[in-house]
Symmetry: C2
Subunit: 327 residues, 2 copies
């Protein structure tokens, strides 16, 4: 199997991505098509004495930046790594991995890779680390807003398949995000989605979940409109960031606190790491003709390597076939 | 001025509420109509040797519970403290304070107190403590879902007035919650609301705010559909609760951590207290013929006293007149 990797647009630069790919080589059976600065890639591979037979190259240094308008850029930046990579994916290869602009990847997925026939809307499944140590799959996490309820019903199925194939969870527990846990709560759309999920035989629907339980690990799959899903992620990030910053301020307020903080430093760092979703592999854009993997923009080589391993698991499982059967 | 106080439905019981009212007496000019167990109230007032001229009583022990269906209960529980209190408010008194069921208070506001003529929908304004030490007013925080954009436009005006009159902020900064900070982001409704807010001369609209900034104090007023607003509150609560629980686990993992935790205990407690929105006074149900104040269910006498002080400020400012002028 072949993974196409976008070398451009990552916060830490192309070399970090290339090194991540190289690091993965020993334990993956995947071959790679690298889209980006070919000479740089070749040099690193040569330096590391790796097997050139496992690599192909598409040379470019153009890419779609975070502040670019994604849809317009697809048309204008003909040589952007994303455009070249996704066009290549239409010819060959099994998946595409990028740490570049999320918006551009979504737009590229919709307009270049295109949807599976039965799929009403592609969805970005994000892996959320939880307190229990497990991961929760959030569909959708911000790619699709103004969802029709039928779309969210499909998100539930696609998220369930990913939970099975990616996280090896049997009969994954699917919940719908809502502002109350009882049936009948929420706005009109959420009530409609509830009815659809309740009557969907292809998922294990367990009811509403409040955002309070987002991080507890109660759910294997959380279904949401992209607006609500993104609100939840960003509220959680905000709360965590404010709390850590308050702790930092508090512990420098007295000598006693400072000593306490010193003794606790490692524990606090561990907590931060545990919830760092940048470290739990890539998000997956689901419902397209081939899956696209989104590594976090700030991924280091370690994160890229891990994202490649997860991508390989998913690609090996023939996820699209299962999705089509269950929709 | 006269405040009607619901003595029923608070988690800590009627006596705690009565004592809160009594504690407030020294510093408030308000008189009170207490709705609940009259004998209990009289005994406490007598014991504390307070002036009976400042109290009237409506005797009842019935109330609408959290698990009751709010709308149906309004009709069925004729002697519920909320029903008797709000009916009294239609005759006399300037506002109503309750620590009972939020749903029942909302329903009572809509069906008994009724909306101001120009108001399309009442909204629950909640005071959110922030990192900067200021407070942010969230409208709506969960009372109204499926809002039309015109409703959110009105929420912005009402929230602004409260920020001025309640928090003494001149020209309060109004933001719209969105999943991106740039203009043009979000779902259809949010884009519509953005246009209305941008063109509303009666507010100081400053653009979109991401949920990441919910707790930073950047905004004086945050406008949201009740679904989104409630999502934000509950995600934030969830993140904080998980983090504190993780810290608790982490600090008991080694003796060194335990010592560290001991030294930090006070600092961590201070942080928890700072963000305890139960302690920042009552929420206000706005847009009704008279304002209804919602103290948190778990309010202790201190919280009740503080809620009364804040209610007095708002009542003195003739907030409804200002709202009607600006809508």
């Amino acid at each position: 199997m072949k993974l196409i990797v976008d070398l451009m647009g990552a916060d830490l630069g192309s070399e970090e991505v290339i090194n991540g790919v190289c690091d993965s080589l020993e334990k993956t059976k995947l071959n790679f098509i690298l889209v980006g600065p070919e000479e740089v890639a070749r040099q690193i591979i040569k330096l590391r004495q790796l097997d050139f037979n496992r690599f192909e190259f598409i040379n470019t240094t153009e890419f779609i930046e975070n502040h670019d308008d994604p849809v317009r850029s697809l048309r204008r930046k003909k040589n952007a790594s994303l455009v070249l990579g996704l066009e290549k994916l239409n010819e060959e290869g099994d998946g595409f991995l990028s740490a570049g602009s999320t918006g551009a990847l979504l737009a590229g997925g919709i307009f270049i890779t295109k949807r599976l026939e039965k799929v009403k809307r592609a969805t970005l499944a994000t892996l959320i680390p939880t307190q229990s140590g497990s991961q929760t799959i959030l569909v959708d996490s911000g790619a699709v807003v103004d969802t029709k309820s039928e779309m969210q019903d499909q998100f539930a199925v696609m998220g369930s398949v990913v939970a099975e194939k990616y996280l090896q969870i049997k009969n994954p527990k699917v919940y719908l995000v809502n502002i109350g846990s009882e049936e009948g709560k929420g706005d009109i759309r959420t009530k409609e989605v509830y009815e659809l999920l309740k009557n969907n035989p292809n998922i294990n629907f367990c009811g509403n979940i409040e955002p309070r339980d987002f991080l507890t690990g109660k759910a294997d799959v959380i279904v949401a409109d992209g607006f609500a899903g993104n609100m939840m992620i960003k509220s959680t990030e905000g709360a965590a960031s404010v709390l850590f910053s308050e702790i930092k301020t508090a512990v420098t307020s007295s000598i006693i606190s400072k000593i306490g903080a010193l003794l606790l430093k490692k524990s606090l760092k561990n907590i931060k790491d545990k919830y760092d979703y940048k470290k739990v592999g890539a998000g997956v854009l689901l419902g397209l003709n081939k899956p696209l993997f989104k590594a976090h923009g700030s991924s280091d080589r370690e994160a890229i390597k891990y994202a490649i391993y997860k991508a390989e698991e998913l690609l090996s499982s023939n996820i699209n076939k299962t999705i089509e059967e269950r929709l």
